[in-house]
């Protein structure tokens, strides 16, 4: 096997040095009744070429966003990935390293994470960001746990129904056994109903969690929600599943959010069937010491030279064990690098321009579809690159009809939102040309794509 360098001579010399006559003796500590007495029933080893051929065969059975007209979003976004990213993250000094436990030989990773933390702070308008979480949903769940820890006796969490369903489900999993009451805040016209929110708020509520943009692509009035929320001494968590929106819309930090979490996949990470992506997690200074996850800080070496280290580690599981702020250990290191490179390339102007392109294309599609017979746009508020339509024909049939024409029209909303039984969530990004949008519109109308 090409990854196993041992020659027979090597093995013999090593056994001699150890003082055993065969490898089997090294396993003498494993009792006979714990041994597997047959070979593993797996396929025989394939050559490099056979392996690739086989995997290519599987890959080719999948539906690529690059070959189809895809309007799928809903928490995973089809954005262009500059060639630079894969070239740079393929430098194996980055990807074959582990967590930077030895800072002197990990300064590359550490500086890159420090820059990532800064970029996330700038984008979200917050003071402190950690070195990443698994994804947006788990970051959001960890944010809920933070507010419970920091909220003393408060045990209720108000979740906007506009939060992506997968975020709400993940929060439910994480908080199942911690005596936390999860309460839904209903929607009004596609955004969080503030009158209902007002009624639900009390001194028992640790956090209000709002999607920004929300699952329907709508821009919530975060500023006014923040005022309501803070009036009862409650923390506001903004969950951002499409962070490109933050290059265009006012940042959650500016609008008063206390915690901003979200998914960074939009920034240079392939869709990869939904993972790995990357969660980001940003807070105000006051919450720095209850933050989950790793943090990189700046310091100096013995000679007074700038360097970076993992810091405030006493929050973490390897030191505080059952009292840690989270059980997270490995995070999304390589994806941190992808996001940072993406943001560095696009920079101040590029990210804004890209956001404007996404917005304009989505508006174009929304207007075109709203003019079609049998279709309507139920919510009138501002959106970013996603919006909801409702159809007079059953959504399942509609989607299948469009699939025949090579169009992935959107995500059905009926399962998660019974009121929107014939609702479809459509996402338009810079990857969708005007021609593609026009084909979508024509296909929806019943014509040829």
């Amino acid at each position: 096997m090409r990854y196993l360098p041992h020659t027979d001579v090597d093995v013999q010399q090593m056994l001699d040095q150890i003082g055993v006559s065969n490898i089997e003796e090294l396993f003498s500590g494993v009792p006979a009744d714990c041994r597997l007495k047959r070979p593993l029933d797996l396929s025989a080893a394939k050559s490099e070429s056979e392996t690739l051929t086989f995997l290519r065969g599987l890959a080719e059975q999948n539906t690529k966003t690059s070959d189809w007209d895809s309007f799928l979003g809903g928490g995973a976004y089809n954005h262009f990935i500059p060639a630079v990213i894969d070239q740079l993250v393929s430098r194996s000094e980055f990807y074959t390293a582990y967590t930077p436990y030895q800072p002197e030989i990990s300064q590359g990773t550490l500086q890159a994470v420090f820059e990532f933390q800064t970029l996330i702070c700038q984008l979200t308008g917050m003071d402190v960001a950690n070195a990443s979480m698994y994804d947006g949903a788990s970051a959001c769940a960890e944010a809920v746990l933070l507010t419970i820890r920091a909220g003393k006796k408060r045990h209720k969490i108000l979740l906007s129904q506009g939060l992506p369903p997968q975020y709400r489900e993940t929060i439910a999993t994480y908080s199942a056994h911690l005596n936390i009451d999860l309460i839904d805040i209903p929607l009004q016209a596609g955004v969080t109903d503030q009158a209902e929110l007002q009624k639900l708020l009390s001194d028992q509520v640790a956090a209000v969690v709002i999607g920004y943009p929300n699952y329907f692509g709508q821009i919530e009035n975060l500023g006014s929600i923040a005022e309501l929320t803070h009036a009862s001494g409650t923390r506001l968590v903004a969950a951002v599943s499409e962070p490109l929106a933050l290059a265009l819309y006012r940042s959650p930090g500016e609008l008063g959010a206390d915690i901003v979490v979200g998914e960074g996949q939009s920034f240079g990470i392939p869709l990869s069937y939904g993972g790995p992506g990357i969660g980001f997690f940003a807070v105000r200074k006051e919450d720095m010491r209850v933050l989950p996850g790793r943090l990189v800080g700046e310091t100096m070496d013995k000679d007074g030279k700038r360097g970076f280290v993992l810091t405030l580690a006493t929050r973490e599981q390897h030191i505080r064990r059952e009292k840690a702020t989270s059980n997270i250990c490995s995070n999304q290191g390589m994806c941190v690098l992808m996001v940072a490179i993406y943001l560095a390339l696009h920079g101040k102007q590029g990210l804004r321009q890209l956001a404007e392109v996404n917005y304009a294309k989505a508006v174009y599609a929304k207007e075109k579809i709203s003019q079609l017979d049998g279709f309507s746009v139920p919510f009138s508020g501002e959106t970013f690159n996603e919006f909801v339509i409702t159809c007079s024909e059953p959504v399942a049939a509609l989607k299948q009809r469009l699939e025949q024409q090579g169009v992935l029209a959107g995500i059905s909303l009926g399962r998660d939102y019974p009121d929107l039984e014939n609702g479809l969530l459509i996402c338009v990004t810079e990857q969708n040309s005007q021609e593609q949008i026009d084909r979508l519109v024509a296909a929806l109308a019943g014509g040829e794509a």
Binding site: R289, A313, T314, I319, R320, K323
Partner: protein, 127 residues
């Protein structure tokens, strides 16, 4: 190692300075030495009620966390506001600048069960 005569000590290495019904509390020279460079101190809030033997705060070094226990019961009347910004005071001056909290005793008899400097010195050496 320095263990001033005028203080009383606990087995968890806190010290108590009892002047009247308000006592001052910190951690001993031995404790700060064991912990190494202290980077953060978490204290209760003024008005909190502490119970003898229960934790009232946390002291952190770079790679360790230690709870600090209340030597006596009572209400917190003052905390050392300087410590969050200058945790090194606990290392450099554990009995003066590094004091942590002042509490109003609820049961002065609890002081009697604490060690004096000589007994504490023996306790530390045995430990």
């Amino acid at each position: 190692m320095n263990f001033p005569e005028e203080l009383k000590y606990t087995e968890d290495h806190e010290w108590v300075l009892a002047e009247d019904d308000v006592v001052t509390i910190g951690i001993s020279d031995f404790a700060q030495d064991q912990l190494g460079d202290i980077v953060f101190v978490e204290l209760p809030e003024v008005g909190d009620t502490l119970e003898e033997g229960k934790t009232f705060g946390v002291v952190e070094s770079v790679k360790a966390v230690s709870d600090v226990y209340a030597p006596v019961s009572g209400e917190v009347v003052e905390i050392n506001e300087e410590l969050p910004d200058a945790p090194e005071a606990v290392n450099n001056s554990p009995y003066e600048d590094g004091w942590m909290i002042k509490i109003k005793l609820s049961d002065p008899a609890q002081l009697d069960s604490l060690m004096n400097a000589t007994v504490y010195q023996e306790f530390v050496e045995k430990d």
